[in-house]
């Protein structure tokens, strides 16, 4: 789809193209970027023209990107590490265009920007919340595939939980798929049956698990989300205690500004609380669940992250030792 901005083709307008594997309304990974670009558009009225391509398999992404280049786009974002090669090769071929992709911590060539959400921080916050509100001290993690973003978030969750209650039990299970909502729901049900009372999960499939928690409306079964969009959903209202999101707006704004100033890339943007890459929110409707103690603890942790980025040793977590 394309959403052309009102501005006409003139020097002030930067054309941004987004390539995503899922859809821009998936209430997760892709939507976060889409929302970020829209927010950036609002902040820089008339300066950004935006188009996106959804459901891009790696090979389709190549076609789309080339078409965008041909159409004169200035910034092409491949939102997923699977687009890495594609981006690097195209960057080589088209030095005048800025390419961006993430997650990656590599600093790429002159005209490549990478971004790296350090999602263990959000996971850590979720872990603190989960462990605090849990009555039975058994937590559940519904993972898609143990890699990338999800691996960091989930391990951060384990560390966060243990930081509050060292003996807390965490059940981790993976569905093996990013988009199998039903299986995620099955995992959640299985964990709830096994005695878990607070769950979390990552990637779009996690919505299936969140929905499964809402099947216990009157029981103390809760969810901690990985995306703020989850809070707005009906079952999120009911069950999602808190959530944190990636906020790509600053990344996009700086990207556009840099491009305007002639800096095409050659840097990596880590995303964390320190640089405003994450936003966090509680679910007001469930304020009975968390006291001001917890809110304070979370705020303290966030300022800790702001002062001390990159402090969560997520790699140390070994699921089989839980």
């Amino acid at each position: 789809g394309s959403e052309e901005s009102a501005a006409k083709e003139d020097d002030g307008v930067v054309k941004v193209a987004l390539i995503v594997e899922n859809t821009i309304d998936d209430k997760g990974w892709c939507q976060a970027m889409h929302d970020g670009i829209l927010a950036a558009q609002e902040r820089m009225p008339g300066e950004i023209e935006y188009s996106y391509s959804e459901k891009m398999k790696p090979v389709d992404a190549g076609s789309a990107a080339r078409q965008y280049v041909a159409d004169g786009y200035d910034i092409i974002i491949g939102h997923g590490a699977q687009y890495k090669n594609l981006i690097l090769e195209m960057a080589d071929e088209y030095p005048d265009v800025t390419f961006a992709f993430g997650t990656s911590a590599e600093v790429g060539p002159e005209n490549v920007v990478t971004y790296m959400p350090e999602s263990e921080e959000t996971g850590y916050l979720s872990g603190i919340i989960a462990a605090t509100i849990s009555k039975v001290d058994v937590l559940g993690v519904v993972g898609p595939v143990d890699g990338g973003d999800a691996a960091r978030y989930n391990r951060g969750f384990v560390l966060g939980a243990k930081s509050v209650k060292p003996d807390v039990e965490v059940m981790v299970a993976h569905t093996g798929s990013f988009s199998d909502y039903i299986k995620a729901g099955e995992v959640a049900q299985s964990q709830i049956k096994a005695g878990v009372d607070v769950l979390t999960g990552s990637s779009q499939q996690a919505l299936g698990a969140l929905r499964a928690t809402a099947d216990y409306p009157d029981e103390d079964i809760w969810w901690v989300g990985q995306d703020l969009a989850q809070l707005k959903m009906a079952e999120g209202q009911l069950k999602c205690v808190a959530a944190s999101s990636y906020d790509y707006a600053p990344v996009i704004v700086s990207l556009v500004e840099n491009v305007k100033n002639g800096v095409k890339g050659g840097y990596c943007v880590p995303m964390n609380f320190a640089n405003g890459g994450f936003i966090f929110g509680f679910n007001e409707a469930l304020s009975d669940l968390y006291g001001s103690d917890l809110e304070d603890a979370i705020n303290a942790q966030i300022s800790e992250f702001v002062n001390n980025p990159n402090s969560v040793d997520w790699k140390s977590v070994d699921y089989s030792q839980l």
Binding site: T23, Q31, H174, T175, G176, Y181, Q191, A194
Partner: protein, 314 residues
């Protein structure tokens, strides 16, 4: 003990969508039509199933009615799509395998497109809750395993004996079996082969649609365009597992789903091997069970996949 009870209590509802779709596909195949479009019909059933309660019946006291309307609509759309498939493979005699793939693409795509247009992103719905059978659900252990599910679970399992009855005791079942094995013989007795096949496709489609509606309204209680995630193909595979016999198909669906719920439970307990091997379990188990089962009776409907034309020689 709890561990096992939980596996059983979850595995049974997990199996329902597979069971329904697979029995539907069995009716298709018994009549001689191979419908790989099952996956797509499930997607449409799931979409239409959720659309009705979503768009007209959110909340309120009458929500349940809209849920059931949704289920019925899912089945109806499935039946309709089965008939559409029939037009392609019966009226036009198109090759069934490839047409099935076309059907699957069309339906999955249409469900997704319409969903994006009318609803938007992944959407949840209240769905249909559990129905605890009075008294029975109170029995310790057994009550939890067998009598504490949503109403469609009971209905789906009732379909098993029902379809055995339909297939083997009713005139229609007899006609279905005959047109799937030796359509020429049925035709020589004045049975309208293509009409019976259309009927079977409608039934099969309705069950696939129902399976989809079960997924969106009862199991996931949400919809997303990718939610069927290959379950339609597994349902087709289970027909081969069950050798076109509803009861064996039921065992296949249960085997798969119990293995699924078992591996999830085991993963939750903590495993010291890569989780991928746990995820594989149900698939591996189904292959192995079939490979090493004694019963190799070939009951494949002999005319499966062949369009019928009275004047054409075969």
């Amino acid at each position: 003990m709890d561990f096992i009870v939980n596996i059983l209590a979850l595995g049974i509802p997990f199996s329902v969508a597979l069971l329904l779709a697979s029995i539907g596909e069995m009716f298709n195949q018994r009549s001689g039509i191979f419908n790989l479009g099952c996956e797509g019909i499930m997607a449409m059933g799931a979409f239409i199933g959720m659309l009705i309660p979503y768009s007209v019946g959110q909340g309120g006291a009458t929500a349940e009615i809209y849920n059931f309307l949704g289920i019925i609509a899912g089945a109806l759309v499935g039946a309709l799509l089965g008939l559409v498939f029939g037009v392609v493979v019966i009226t036009f005699k198109a090759k069934q395998g490839i047409a099935g793939i076309g059907m699957q693409l069309f339906c999955v795509g249409a469900a997704g497109t319409l969903f994006r247009h009318f609803v938007g992103g992944t959407q949840s719905i209240p769905g249909i809750g559990k129905f605890y059978i009075p008294l029975l659900s109170k029995i310790p252990i057994l009550g939890q395993i067998f009598f504490s599910h949503n109403i469609l679970v009971y209905i789906a399992f009732l379909f098993v004996p029902l379809s055995v009855y339909i297939l083997f005791k009713t005139p229609w079942g007899l006609r279905v079996r005959a047109v799937g094995t030796y359509p020429r013989a049925a035709d020589s007795l004045g049975i309208n082969v293509n009409r019976v096949r259309f009927q079977a496709l409608a039934v099969g489609g309705a069950l696939a649609g129902l399976a989809g509606a079960y997924l969106s309204l009862c199991q996931a209680k949400m919809f997303s365009d990718e939610m069927i995630a290959g379950r339609g193909f597994i349902a087709v595979a289970l027909v081969y597992f069950g050798h076109w016999d509803p009861i064996k198909i039921m065992w296949g669906a249960l085997l798969f789903s119990l293995a699924q719920s078992f591996q999830l439970a085991v993963q939750g307990q903590g495993i010291n091997f890569p989780y991928e091997f746990a995820v594989m379990l149900p698939y591996v188990l189904v292959i192995l069970t079939l490979a090493f089962s004694r019963d190799k009776k070939k009951q494949e409907p002999a005319a499966l996949g062949i369009a019928f034309d009275r004047e054409k020689r075969t």
